[in-house]
């Protein structure tokens, strides 16, 4: 019974304390957001590098829940360069979806809050939005128009009571209020053709239930691309689909990216999918980026023990081995993360230093960055991920 107490037991008193604290913090953060409405200066910044579409800079997204503060994303920094595909890889619960939701400001507020850091989104005219402070009225213009998202389940992301045509039209009507009905319909049909739907006039009048999973995902892609966004976030776009359909959809995404001239942020847990698509890969573990670099950096020279383990634990066709490598243990509890390296307890290469603070990001070549003490002497230390002390808020 003692073990049970340690893991999840909260007394009534503690529970009350947590609730009171959450109420205080979220109120304060909401008030700060409301202030930003008045002055555009508060949410305009400059990009570090004009060639990036999005820069995440030490972003922290916390959830203030009844069992304590969950640090879903804790000091994540990476960039999405123009016209490229960035793959974000990690297991479930590592914060990859929360990262994308923070960028779209689709977090479940007030319990989910971006508490620190910046997300800079390139406006294209030398300035940038800081998405963290951007008020909703401005976000409405960005969402769907400049950043759009393809969700995991094509079955649930389409509205079952509206026709396909109406659902694609809606995006265009919202972002191009000056267009006529005919213009919008023409664009919709063009989009449907672009995503490879042969019978476009027919599909325009159909309801989602009349289409198969692969077709529905094509519609979702058509909706996402309708306004030619500069960034497409694809959140596990093929997980719910079969292998053959998956190949179709990935092929389509790759072709469309070139046609529409946008960047893709591809979120997935399948290393194979990322390998075929991405130029850059970001590996996340327990809310932090543990390794990032170009696809060949990550696949040919995986450096973090977790990445190495992940690569080895997936059977590969044509490479027969006797036993599959498995990473021992489980992901740590996100409510009370340790203050040493999150992967230490599962790591087979740990050393003395690992007992110290969380390892800094270390640049081991021009494009390859890894957070592991094994490389501390082999590269330039870029700095530690900054967590936000919740008590100070």
């Amino acid at each position: 019974m003692e073990q049970k107490k340690k893991s999840s037991y909260i007394s009534a008193r503690e529970s009350r304390k947590i609730t009171r604290f959450n109420r205080k913090v979220t109120r304060k953060l909401e008030a700060q957001r409301a202030d930003a409405n008045k002055d555009p200066k508060l949410y305009t910044t400059k990009m570090k590098d004009e060639n990036n579409v999005v820069e995440f800079d030490n972003m922290c997204t916390y959830f203030f829940t009844d069992v304590g503060t969950v640090r879903a994303v804790d000091g994540v920094s990476f960039e999405v360069p123009k016209h490229s595909t960035v793959g974000v890889v990690g297991e479930s619960g590592c914060g990859k979806s929360v990262t994308s939701l923070s960028l779209m400001q689709l977090l479940q507020r007030p319990s989910g809050q971006v508490v620190g850091g910046e997300i800079r989104f390139n406006k294209g005219d030398g300035t940038a939005y800081n998405i963290v402070n951007t008020p909703n009225s401005v976000m409405e213009d960005i969402r769907g128009n400049e950043i759009s998202m393809i969700f995991q389940e094509p079955m649930t992301s389409l509205n079952p009571v509206f026709r396909i045509g109406d659902q694609v039209d809606e995006v265009l009507f919202l972002h191009h209020p000056d267009w006529t009905k005919e213009q919008v319909k023409a664009r919709t049909l063009e989009m449907l053709e672009m995503v490879g739907i042969a019978n476009k006039e027919g599909v325009y009048k159909m309801y989602p239930h009349e289409l198969s999973g692969g077709m529905r995902q094509r519609i979702v892609i058509a909706i996402a691309l309708a306004c030619s966004p500069t960034l497409i976030i694809a959140d596990e776009p093929t997980t719910a689909l079969d292998v053959t359909i998956q190949a179709q959809i990935l092929d389509l995404l790759q072709n469309l990216k070139e046609k529409v001239n946008s960047s893709i942020m591809l979120i997935t847990h399948d290393l194979g999918v990322v390998a075929g698509m991405a130029d850059y890969v970001v590996v996340m573990y327990a809310g932090r980026v543990i390794e990032k670099g170009t696809a060949s950096d990550i696949y040919h020279h995986p450096s973090h023990p977790y990445t190495i383990g992940l690569m080895k634990s997936k059977p590969v066709v044509g490479h027969k081995s006797d036993t599959l490598y498995n990473i021992p243990g489980n992901v740590p509890n996100p409510v009370n993360m340790p203050n040493y390296c999150y992967f230490r307890d599962r790591c087979e290469m740990r050393c003395e230093q690992c007992n110290g603070d969380y390892p800094p990001a270390i640049k081991i070549n021009d494009t390859h960055v890894v957070s592991c003490y094994r490389y501390i002497d082999k590269g330039e230390v870029l700095g530690y991920p900054k967590a936000v002390n919740v008590e100070e808020l």
Binding site: I245, D251, G272, A275, G276, L310, N330
Partner: protein
């Protein structure tokens, strides 16, 4: 259109007598499972969903057979029919030499501990109101596998074999993570000391690092207890890793069945070829000629005539549109159902038949036209 049944001896004779060989633990012959479609008011059967249509295969004792295919192709239906969780429409299933569908209710109950299943979703397949010890032990007590005084000890041993410490016994499923729950499901199946376990997508709901743990566990248990698995999955790399033989299904039909090395190195059927070329490979420099199948899987309620794959096949011929290919042995142990591999004599016969059918169809078409004109 009425189904054309040609040359019954080509389809029915493949595994005849295989059930008498004690080496073959599972033999499935011409298994069919149709789900009727009822009209809404009078409950008259208006059609059939042919979930499993004439499937034959065998599994040797102590080996694993992988069953792959797209969703809706009937993989899970096969798994469930083998266990007689749903009744067959036609065909025979022999497990350990006994015809499962010929058993009486009592005999079937006695046979049940030998055949177990691990379900896909570990979150849905455990009762939330029973502690782990009871979930694993319920069937053991029910079937009297061990005397009551050894019961506790036995459950602990089973849990240990699956990597679960025995102090987990009083806990409830909601306290465990996905990987742990799948271990519990495996322990539950294993506790009855089965010969044969149907694993219905046991790892698809799990993360990559946890998947590896479960796959290793399944393999270790197989070595330890000499288990036989039917491993249903849509993840082709996992299937290649764990199975000795692989069956590929398309729309209720088995299109290819062969030992793993053979089928992965040299896939015969165009569908298998396309399926295997679509496997994502974790290497950015690896470029394959991906065969991209156009369209999606047709509805099993209204499948295409002839070879069911002909609507998406790259190598479709005239004969494919009319006649279903025979499932036959091309090389020893390598079975495939495709017209590409017909012998010249057989091809000639079929060509004649096709010509005849075309003529008939033409007649029908013209008479209909005439009727329309009148």
């Amino acid at each position: 259109m009425e189904e054309v049944k040609v040359y019954d001896e080509y389809t029915s004779s493949i595994f005849d007598g295989a059930e008498n060989d004690p080496d073959n633990l599972v033999v499935v012959k011409n298994l069919k499972k149709y789900f009727p479609i009822k009209s809404s008011f009078f409950k008259i059967t208006v059609g059939n969903v042919k979930a499993v249509d004439d499937v034959s295969f065998k599994i040797k004792r102590g080996t694993t057979m992988g069953l792959v295919g797209e969703s809706g192709c009937g993989k899970s239906t096969i798994g469930r029919t083998l266990l007689r969780l749903i009744e067959k429409t036609d065909g025979q299933v022999f497990i350990g030499g006994k015809d499962i569908f010929a058993l009486s209710k009592n005999d079937l109950r006695k046979e049940r501990p030998n055949i177990q299943i691990i379900f896909q979703d570990p979150y849905a397949s455990l009762s939330p109101r029973l502690p782990i010890g009871e979930i694993i032990g319920e069937a053991v007590r029910e079937h009297g596998i061990v005397p009551p005084e050894e019961f506790d000890d036995y459950i602990s041993r089973v849990m240990e074999a699956c990597g679960l410490p025995d102090y987990y016994k009083p806990r409830y499923p909601h306290e465990f993570s996905g990987g742990q729950r799948q271990r519990i499901c495996i322990a539950r199946a294993l506790a009855l000391n089965p010969d044969f376990i149907v694993c219905d997508e046991p790892v698809s709901a799990l993360d990559v690092s946890i998947q590896a743990q479960i796959i290793n566990l399944l393999r270790d248990l197989q070595k330890q207890f000499g288990l036989t698995y039917l491993f249903i999955s849509h993840d082709l790399s996992v299937v290649e890793y764990i199975s000795d033989t692989v069956g590929v299904m398309y729309l209720g039909n088995m299109v290819e069945f062969a030992p793993t090395e053979k089928i992965y190195a040299n896939p015969k059927h165009p569908y298998t070829e396309a399926l295997f070329s679509a496997i994502p490979y974790p290497d950015p420099d690896y470029k394959v000629n991906r065969i991209i199948l156009e369209g999606s899987i047709p509805s099993p309620a209204n499948p295409p005539s002839g070879c069911k794959f002909h609507t998406r096949c790259r190598k479709c011929m005239e004969v494919c549109k009319y006649i279903q290919p025979d499932f036959k042995e091309l090389e020893p142990e390598h079975f495939c159902a495709c017209h590409l591999f017909n012998t010249p004599e057989r091809q000639k016969e079929l060509d004649e038949l096709v010509a005849k059918m075309k003529a008939e169809e033409g007649e029908k078409g013209s008479t209909e036209k005439q009727k329309g004109n009148k």
